[in-house]
Every structure is written in C-alpha cells, then in structure tokens.
Symmetry: C2
Subunit: 440 residues, 2 copies
C-alpha cells in the first residue's frame, strides 16, 4: 500500500475546492519554543567559550570527538584529494556543472550587480557602488541529505561576487565524510572548511572563535536548529533566507509525455515527506494519465516510501477550468519550482508573478535546473517567492550610495533640506545645509 | 556643563588606542528577553483576534481610543488636505525632494532592477525576471521622531518598483497627527494609511486583519518593540533591516571649514543620545579647530543637551597617522554615513569598502542626502554595512529564474544531471533528466 501514488485529486469546479486547497497548502514553520530555547543557549555558550563549546556540541550531537578545532578543519589538500579520487565521470560532471553555474552568475553580476552613477546638470554626482562582502560562511547540510550541488550553488555566486574568503561548514556525523561534497568544495573554490554543523556551527561563524573566523553573512539551508540559529544571529551577520520543505508546481497543457511530468513530480516528492508536488491542468484525461504513470513508475523508485508519503500528505493533482485559472492559482501558491509544461510556455510565463524559478517547456525538467543549467537552486520556499529571490551574486554584494554635491547643487538642495529639517525639528541638519549656501 | 562638547579625543599613535577605540565602538542591540516575550504575546494576540486586539493595544500604548479600526484609517482626502494646508515653502520643498528621490530610484531600477536573459548556442534560454512585490507595509515612527522624509524614502522606491499597494502605519500618540507626515504620504502616493504603531501594527501588516491587509514585506525603522516584532515575523513576510542608532563618520584632510564639519557631526548627534559621531583626521591642528567650533556652536543648538550627551557617550575625534589609516579604520567601523571631507575625495573613495552612503567633498553635507539629494536615507547601521545595503528599489522587487532548455540542451545537461543526481542518491531527479535524453 506504501507503493501507491495517492495525491489529492481536486477540481476548481468543486464546491469544496477553496477548503480542500487551503488544507493542502497549509504548512507552517511554527516556531518551536523548545528549539528556540536550546538554540539560544548554544549560541550564548559558543559566543562565550568559543572552540571549546563547539567541540563539546560536535561530540554530543554529531558523535564526532576531537581534541582541538584544528582536527575538524578540512585541508585544501584533503578537498583536492577527494576530487582527484572521484570516478572520472563524476569529476567531469561536477566540473561541467560548476562551469555553467559560474557562467550564469557572471551574467547575473553584469546585468544587475555593477556600480553605476550619473551626474545632474549642475555637476552633482549620484549613484551606487557595489562591493563584495569580505567573508561569508556557507552551511552545507550533512548526513543523509548531503548535497554537493549545494556547495556549488552557495560558493560559486560568492566567488563571482568577489568574496575573498568563503568558509564552509558541513557536519560529518560520526566522522563520515562525503567525498562528493569535499570535491565540490575543491571545485567551487572554498577557502576553508570545517566539519561542524547545527546551531554551534552557525554560532561559530556569526561570532567567530579562536579557530573559525567570524563572517559577514551566512547562507545555505539546514534543519530546524540551523534555521532558528540563523534567524537569531540575523542582524549581527546577514543571512540568506529560512528554508522550508521543497516544492514543485507543474502547469500542464497536456502536451508533455505523462511519464515525464510524473517523474518531475516524484523528483520533488523524493526530497522528504514534507515536500510538496502539485499538478495544475485543465485536461482531466491528462491528469488521469499522469496519475496512471505515477502508479506505474512508483514501485521502481528507490525512494518510493518517501515519495508515497509526500504525495499522500501534501501532493495534489488539480483540474482547472483553464490554463489562465491554473496560472492564477500558481500565483496564490508562489511555488519554489514552477514548470510550464506546455507547447507555448511563453504565452503563460507573463501571467506568472511569483515563483523561485520558472522552467519553460517540456525539456526543462526541474532536475536540470537543480544541477547544471546554471541558475541557482537555492530558492525561496513556502510562498516566500512573493517577496524573495533565488540566491544570487547580489546576496554576496552590498551597495553604498555615492553622493557628491557640487557647489551649485548645494545651493538648490540646501534650501530644500533646510525647510524640511526645520519641519522635523532637526536644526543641526538645517544649519549644516545652510552653511553651504553662499552667504550662509 | 551640559553645553560642552566632550567627544573622546583619541590618537592611533597611542598605546591604548585599540582599547579606547573598542570601548567607544561597542554598541550592542542586546536582545531583551522581556521585550521579546511581550512582543511574542502581542503578535499571537493580533494573529488570533485581529482588529479587536489592535484596537486594545492602540488604546493602551498610544492613549488613542477608537471603536472600530475604520476610525484609525487616514483617508486619501485627509492626506491631501494635510498637503494643501501646508505653507507653500514646505509644500514645494516636499515636492522637490520627492521628485529628486523618485528620479534617483528610477535610475537605480534601470541600472540594477531590470529583467535579463540570454541564450546558449544550443538555444537554451537562461535569465531572471524581475517583478514588483504586490503589497508592502511601511512603518513610519510617530511621536517625537516623526519624520516626513522617511515616508518619502520608504514609499517612493516601492512606487518606482511598481508595487501596487503601499500600506503605511504611523502611530499617533493621543491622536496627535503630524501634518507633514500626512502630506508626505500624499506626495509619495501611499495607498492606505492607519494610525497604529508598535508590535501590534507590525502584526496587523504581517498577518492581516479584517481591516488591515496582509502585506508581503514590511520596511521602515521603529523602536525596540517594532524591531523585535519585525525580526519575529521575518519569514512570514519580508523585512528590510533592523535599525540601530544613527552614525556619521567624517574623514577629513583638513580642507573643509571646521564649522561645517562640526555641524555635520552635530547633525547626527542631535538624533538621539545613542547616535554616534566620529571624526578621523591626520591633522591635529584641524581636530583642535573642529573641537573649538563645536564648543562655540553648541550653545546655539536647540537640541544641545542631546548633542552633548551623544558626543560625551559615543563621539570621538581620532587623530590618525594618515588618510590611508583613516580609511582603514573607517572600514573597520562600516559606518552608516561616511563623509569624505577632502579636496580630493575620489582619491579616497576607492579605499572605502563598507558604508551605507558615501558623501564626497565639502559641499556634500550628510543632511543634503538625508532629505533631497535623491539616494535613500534608510541605511544600514551598527556595522551592518559590511553585508547590507541602503533601502532601494531592489527591496521592493523579487526575481524569478528563467530556464528554457532546448531539446539539444537537454541532451548535454541531462547527462551531467544524471551523474550528479545518482551521486546524491536522488534517482527521481536522475530519471527525470534521463527521460529527456534521446532514446531515454
């Protein structure tokens, strides 16, 4: 029974659709007070005791004993050895993926991450200078969900931005190291790497210890402890986002082989039992075909148990009145991954306002984007695509406004500033402007 | 005695400089557990009881009684009336400032906020589409620090980004409305406005109530309760940043009239007693001249008491060995406002890596930037310029990656993805890629 695909079958024409839909969608990253409290204690302890505290938590939570933090550092030689030791096909795939990811992020930097300025007629210069962060920390989950691709997706944009020091942390429970993760760190050009994880690793990066350097920003996904720790140190350091379970939404016009769409839904559902896979389609017969394909393909999947649970708990195949309605529902969901599985994807793309990444056309399986198309696979989840963006070069840059007011400009601006500053009761501001006026 | 300017006088040549410097710099937004607890309770209450809870807190904290939330909404007519009722000079200043702020942010959007894409040789399309947020909330502090300029600085970038609904909240303790704030809301094109504040206003915007619409992001500064509430709702909605006390750092080569620099330091110190004003200069005689100017000018300042306390508690005039050393120290501080008061500001600007806004040359007083030069005055404080940026159009936009893999592209990418997915134990990902291979 575990091996049947049982997503919810919904129809927008049904009287109970809104209710069914709301119930499926509901996922809430409730703040767990117990976790918050433990994380606060770990952060305070690491802030106070540094390396000693990190070593104790690593022994306790990861079952990894070490007498000194230096023992938990991965050397550049070790990363390179991991890369050299890979089968050639993996080494080549990793290198090819890294090359494409780098080239996409270079285009991104050029398109939206360069300094700019202009001069007014009176010679006043206005603009923004864009500079890289000095030092960032990237958190790479370890254990059962150790993803080398995540190393590339975090480190390469930082590298392209011009960050000089990239500090990676990755927990290695009981000391088990994943050679692909180490190799990816080598390919991506990580500066230093430590085999630590959890809230203690976030604390070490945020506050610095004798061994682990304090960083300016921490990116990368993690479990509930990591998420809580990142949220708590936010402000002291920058963070990227708080990741929830992964999601895919497929908008289908019925033209893509049903097997392909079924497998795309699986490829999200296999992440974990809370992952969400949704199909929106105006063609009822196609929905039937996808469901049949799912049931045919499921038993052959090594992660069938996880897929079945994800589909039964959070999956849905939704019959819509039209593609337009499907687009409108997609906007309500603001999915992390959005496939437009259609012969005419560019017809629908402009209607889609909120999504982490949009995959156009039948050939663009989400998994190509996950690994090697080039765009980042760290994407906003749980509807946060309403207000946030894929991880990118811009996450590793910051901007400083540039203002150079000419003498002539100061005459015009000074009078405006003076009036407004007096209106706010800030006479120092007013006087500073007035002093620059001729005869002021 | 209150009326003397007593900033710390430091020298980088002194043996105790590092210690003195660290002591001056130290400012920590310690999380106050009592505030966190009260804020959590207010948020939960508003999430549960909506308008009723907001009305109760507004009565309790702002001394403002209302029978229904509708009474706490400012109508468009009321905003316009406030604008029409201003003296012409204020109306003109507000309009001129708004025009310049708009024009700067339009340039910003063009330089770094437009969609982009490119095609690979095999026809694969990659890029990012940039879209505005649907609805944002802007928090405008009320009471003694009610700044109409902040209304412009928050609402105009949102407007330029293309946000359709801008919801303003501004507390009006005991019902006292600031006509300049209302007028600024009119000029900036705020969609709706409510006279509510504190954690309850943040909660209303984050969760929505029967009357206050739920927004996608909340921007704008506030007190410790507002900051704690914003941090807590982060993830459910976007937030801009957590603001600390305001800061100015002046790098001076001794060429600017000492009075001007003294007044620039005052204009930051007058904000509040925790504000920080620092001068870095290699010319000891000039430092003496600035100090003398401060003492001469201070008694004439209406906010002399606040200025004196800020300078005594957190101000510093630092004698450096060189301008280069001054730049290096500035980078360690990563100030919110950074003035290069020099005849050759473009010589030093490239050395300055971290700052919210950089003001070049003697005529560019910080106050011109605060009100009307064009760039945003909402800037990263407390050293967060190491990793964050001025509020901008980009804060009101988000990005969706675009990926359209051609059939040819799927052949190359599919093989890479397949290898990497198998390496991560994600066979669904691998199969989805393999199915797109010819003969797959």
């Amino acid at each position: 029974m575990d091996q049947a695909a049982n997503p919810a079958l919904l129809s927008t024409a049904s009287a109970t659709f809104e209710q069914d839909f709301a119930q499926r969608l509901h996922w809430s990253a409730e703040q767990d007070a117990a976790i918050e409290e433990r994380v606060a204690a770990i952060l305070a302890d690491v802030q106070q005791r540094g390396d000693a505290a990190v070593l104790e938590y690593t022994a306790r939570f990861d079952g990894l004993q070490a007498g000194a933090m230096a023992q938990l550092e991965l050397t550049a030689a070790e990363l390179k050895a991991a890369y050299d030791g890979l089968p050639a096909v993996q080494r080549d795939a990793l290198t090819a993926a890294a090359r494409r990811v780098r080239s996409y992020h270079e285009a991104q930097k050029k398109a939206s991450g360069e300094s700019w300025s202009y001069r007014d007629e009176d010679g006043t210069l206005l603009g923004q200078k864009v500079t890289p962060l000095d030092r960032v920390g990237i958190y790479v989950p370890g254990g059962k969900a150790a993803y080398p691709s995540s190393v590339l997706m975090n480190a390469i944009p930082a590298h392209v931005a011009g960050v000089t020091e990239i500090i990676m942390v990755v927990p290695t429970p009981r000391g088990e190291k994943n050679p692909l993760v180490l190799a990816a760190a080598h390919v991506a050009g990580v500066t230093r790497a430590f085999t630590i994880g959890g809230a203690q690793a976030v604390a070490a990066l945020a506050y610095g210890t004798a061994t682990v350097p304090k960083v300016d920003k921490i990116t990368g996904p993690g479990n509930a402890y990591v998420a809580s720790a990142k949220k708590r140190v936010f402000g002291q350091v920058g963070i990227d986002m708080i990741a929830g379970p992964s999601e895919i939404l497929v908008l289908a016009d019925g033209s893509t082989p049903a097997d392909w769409v079924a497998m795309d839904l699986f490829s999200q559902a296999e992440h974990d039992e809370l992952a969400q896979a949704i199909l929106l389609c105006p063609d009822a017969a196609y929905i039937d075909a996808v469901l049949a394909a799912m049931n045919r393909l499921l038993p052959g999947m090594p992660r069938a148990g996880i897929i079945a649970k994800s589909l039964a708990g959070r999956g849905a195949l939704i019959h819509t009145r039209s593609m337009e309605e499907a687009c409108a529902i997609s906007n309500r969901i603001a999915p992390e991954h959005l496939e437009i599985s259609s012969t005419d994807p560019h017809r629908w793309e402009p209607l889609l306002r909120h999504a982490g990444a949009i995959f156009l056309g039948a050939y663009t399986s989400e998994s190509l984007g996950d690994y090697c198309a080039g765009p980042n696979h760290v994407l906003p989840t749980s509807g946060t695509a309403r207000f946030s963006s894929p991880l990118g070069v811009y996450d590793f840059q910051k901007r400083s406004s540039l203002i150079e007011v000419s003498e002539a400009g100061a005459q015009e601006l000074g009078q405006i500033a003076s009036v407004l500053a007096h209106g706010e009761g800030l006479q120092g501001h007013a006087r500073a402007a007035e002093m620059r006026l001729k005869g002021g």
